[in-house]
Amino acid sequence: MSAKTAVTFEDNVWGVVAEYKSPGALLEAVKAVRQAGFSAIDTYTPFPIHGMDRAMGLRPTILPYLVLGGGLTGVGCAILLQWWMNGFDYPFIIGGKPIISYQAYVPVGFELMVLLSALTTVFGLFALCRLPQPYHPLFTHDRFPRFSDDGFFLAIEATDPSFSEARAREALAAAGGTEITVVRDISET
């Protein structure tokens, strides 16, 4: 059993990781590694680095469109809710105002628009990032926890069509990377 598991780990290469000394060095490394033909790459940094999205060639996030949908749902529901409750299901006159006083719908309409936009933003963010994610192969890498302090990591993933351990190591080293390590996926699936 143990021998078999060990073989599986050996096969299950997730990717190769290297460290760079500064945000600038990492940015240059990303450009170099992409030049070398890798596309399944990602960086791991303590804070977002200006210009990295473009260097990695990422497409813009779709989050704003999700939020637009959330906000429109919020304001639509709020207006329907108020109209149905005060104007249709339980109409009553207060202060001589019309049964359907649509002007008064504005504050609640606005608040529910904001509320649903905010919920969509946060849960949309989690969904797009696939969070929460308690396990990730990188968490098995001993040096990886430094990403949240002052470590700047670049990984080439095994899913890349032109991936081979040797080629990835070579590209990362050529771009100035140190502590180059192969990371394996130890999950059973």
Binding site: S22, L26, I49, G71, I94, E111, L128, P134, S148
Partner: protein
């Protein structure tokens, strides 16, 4: 950057954001240290403060038990002052919350990078202040568990729905939305820092607990891309939200026909007052925390001075609103309105009115002087005055407008009971208990954000002048 432009920039930005140009690791260490202390090494100051806070929280629990089992008649509210300390305290606490959102959202949109030193702190304050504010509307209903269908449109056996034409109803939606959005904004900002604490954890318990809340954050740029956009969107929607919340709170008064309340100036006046009072409390607490936790390199004098400038501006706006109210009372020609304002300044509550004027209008004007803006003891004292003055502002608006009704036979004078007092003190217990727990277990400065404004964070750091923030 050309030599000319950098010379101009040097004049406009005479001081760096962070002192002594700390490294990334130094920032992580200084912010994490108070959170990572062993239990045995908890500072004695923290323990004593916590004992005081939790005693007040106990007092609050006892007060609420008495209040709920007896009824809200134990408050001093009575004809003609039916709204008194409960709504005063509600408006005061909710106003305090506004500084957090202003700092995290509005200053973010205006790219005020100094905000990174204080935004986490102020956001935590917002969340706890909104929680304290909510206590008053919830408990003034007397039987909150039966009152849920008044506050929210919940289906009930009487087939009744709340009246959405009432500003009190708008208030329920505004304040609960504000509370929820503040929590979300705070939590999203915390995720990278919780990951830092997870990665530095020395015990398994800490690693698991912080790990759960960090949700497996790994600083991936594919995540940062969504994250930064999410943060921008949250800032964008929180900005009109924060303006709307205190506007809606002011509608509770402004849409009535009571002289002293029925004024169109109320929404902007209340928003300015809210920001003013919020910065007051942020300043009071930040000055203490900065000394106590040794954060002077991160929360620099430049940050404090900027906060004092905002207090000067908003304090002046509040002073303008007080003056304009009087002008309209005279210019509007309504005798009841005029009487209310003369009574406010010279009647039985004149002591409260002049306390308010001294604290809110006169004391922030001292911030015109640079040495006062940069003196820690003086800004601390003025910030306390602001807290007091803004409480009196709400009390003056509420009590003086109500206590002399249209017919002199209905006149009265509001006196608080000890339940009013202990309930107000009790919310301080709630606030400071939560706040001290925050200081002990959560990084009080946004680590990843403040790293992002250091000179070394720019990918072009070698091009930029030393001592300038990243751009």
């Amino acid at each position: 950057m050309s030599a000319e432009r950098s010379a101009v920039a040097a004049v406009l930005e005479p001081e760096p954001l962070l002192q002594n140009n700390p490294s990334f690791a130094a920032i992580t260490n200084v912010v994490c240290r108070p959170v990572e202390l062993e239990v045995k090494k908890t500072p004695i100051g923290w323990i004593l403060s916590f004992l005081v806070a939790i005693s007040l929280l106990g007092l609050y629990g006892a007060t609420l038990t008495y209040l709920v089992t007896t009824g809200v008649g134990v408050w001093g509210n009575n004809s003609p002052v039916y709204w008194a300390w409960d709504i005063t305290n509600f408006v005061w606490w909710i106003g305090i919350g506004h500084a957090g959102t202003l700092i995290s959202a509005i200053l973010f949109l205006f790219r005020q990078k100094w905000r990174t030193a204080i935004n986490r702190f102020a956001e935590a304050m917002t969340v706890f202040a909104v929680l304290c504010a909510l206590q008053f509307p919830i408990f003034h209903t007397g039987r909150p568990w039966l009152a849920a269908y008044w506050l929210f449109p919940l289906p009930n056996q009487m087939s009744m729905w709340p009246n959405f034409r009432s500003p009190l109803m708008w208030d329920v939606f505004a304040v609960s939305t504000y509370g929820l959005v503040s929590v979300l904004f705070w939590y999203v900002g915390l995720i990278p820092d919780l990951a830092t604490l997870r990665d530095r954890a020395t015990t398994r318990t800490r690693a698991i607990l912080y790990g759960i809340f960090a949700m497996g954050w790994r600083g991936s740029n594919r995540h940062w891309q969504h994250y930064e956009r999410a943060y921008l969107i949250l800032a964008g929607i929180s900005t009109p939200l924060v303006l709307s919340v205190h506007s809606v709170v002011s509608f509770d008064f402004a849409t009535s026909v009571l002289p002293g309340w029925h004024a169109t100036i109320f929404p902007p006046y209340f928003v300015a007052g809210a920001v003013f009072s919020g910065f007051g409390l942020v300043m009071t607490l930040m000055v203490l925390a900065r000394e106590f936790y040794g954060l002077k390199d991160l929360v620099t004098m430049r940050v404090l001075e900027n906060m004092n400038k905002i207090m000067l501006v908003t304090g002046t706006m509040v002073g303008y609103a007080y003056g304009m109210e009087f002008f309209i009372a005279w210019y509007g020609g309504n005798p009841y309105e005029r009487f209310t304002f003369i009574n406010r300044a010279m009647g039985p509550y004149a002591w409260a009115y002049w306390t308010m004027i001294s604290c809110n209008v006169i004391s922030p004007q001292l911030f015109w002087f640079r040495f006062i803006r940069r003196s820690v003891p003086l800004m601390f004292i003025i910030s306390i005055f602001v807290n007091i003055g803004m409480w009196f502002e709400r009390f003056v608006i509420i009590a003086t407008s109500l206590h002399r009704d249209f017919t002199p036979a209905a006149w009265g004078y509001f006196r608080p009971t000890w339940i009013d007092v202990s309930m107000y003190l009790g919310t301080f217990g709630l606030f400071f208990t939560l706040f001290l727990l925050f200081l002990r277990f959560v990084p009080m400065i946004a680590i990843s954000e403040i790293k992002g404004v250091t000179p070394g964070a720019s990918p072009h750091a070698h091009d930029a002048d030393h001592g300038k923030e990243a751009h």
